[in-house]
């Protein structure tokens, strides 16, 4: 999945693109555009996940403030809530993936959320860098393509 355009400096890339025909250049630009779109989708997914984790962390904090025995409404489905009382707000079950749940305290739960958010943020930054590099290549390809097309036009 790694692109081979990594180590090439922009001047080298443009020089290589000049050597390519219009068809090849179009193919390169389409390919890079596709990759940029994929990366943007991944970035959006990460942003959504980070927001959800943030909400979870806030909810945890709120939960820890509630006294035991407090009356609450428990969701059974998206439109059905049942009255209940808060039992133990110290212990929470955390979904760590692949069907495993771990019992943690609210503090540990918040810590878990923070850790995950950090991990996602670093992934997001890495992806962002990659996406902007790809976008640069795509833009260069587009510019060289336009120049070539203009070159060919007056000849015909």
């Amino acid at each position: 999945m790694a692109s081979s355009k990594g180590p090439a400096s922009p001047a080298v890339r443009v020089a290589e693109m000049e050597k390519m025909s219009v068809e090849q250049l179009k193919a390169v630009k389409e390919q890079t555009d596709l990759e940029v779109n994929l990366l943007q989708d991944s970035l959006n997914n990460i942003r959504t996940a980070t927001t959800r984790l943030d909400l979870a962390s806030v909810a945890l904090h709120d939960l820890s403030l509630r006294p035991q025995g407090k009356k609450m409404l428990v969701p059974l489905t998206a439109s059905l809530y049942v009255p209940g009382t808060l039992d133990d707000s110290e212990k929470v079950l955390v979904d760590i993936g692949t069907g495993y749940f771990v019992e943690k305290t609210t503090v540990e739960g918040k810590d878990y959320c923070e850790r995950k958010i950090h991990l996602l943020k670093s992934n997001y930054d890495q992806l962002l860098e990659l996406a902007s590099k790809k976008k640069t290549v795509a833009d260069e390809a587009g510019a060289v393509l336009q120049a070539k097309v203009k070159q060919l036009a007056p000849q015909t």
Binding site: I96, Y100, F101, V102, E103
Partner: protein, 130 residues
Amino acid sequence: MASPAAVRELQRDLENKANDLSKIQKDIAKNHQVRKKYTIQLGENELVLKELELLKEEANVYKLIGPVLVKQDLAEANANVRKRIEYISAELKRLDAAVQDLEEKQNSKREAVLKVQQRMQALQAGKAKA
């Protein structure tokens, strides 16, 4: 000089080889898909393992089996996740070898197709001159 039968035969050969090539390419694409799925699973399992390792001995671990949440022993959960990671890594290695083999086959098929195409062109050129 070139008989139409020879041209037809070359064409049939070309079709066969082109079909083989597209089948190989489809296999390569499928391989990529399966490999993507396994890679994602491997990543998830490694995260779970890291979380499990951070736990103290007495921490309670539960596994979701269908609609049932079952209490599991921490050691058992660790062992299960490790086994799964091993299995997925082995599968990925197998897929790697398979895709390399497929790519070699794809390249040699491409060359074969090219050769047939060249022979056809030569034949057509010969016919045109005659």
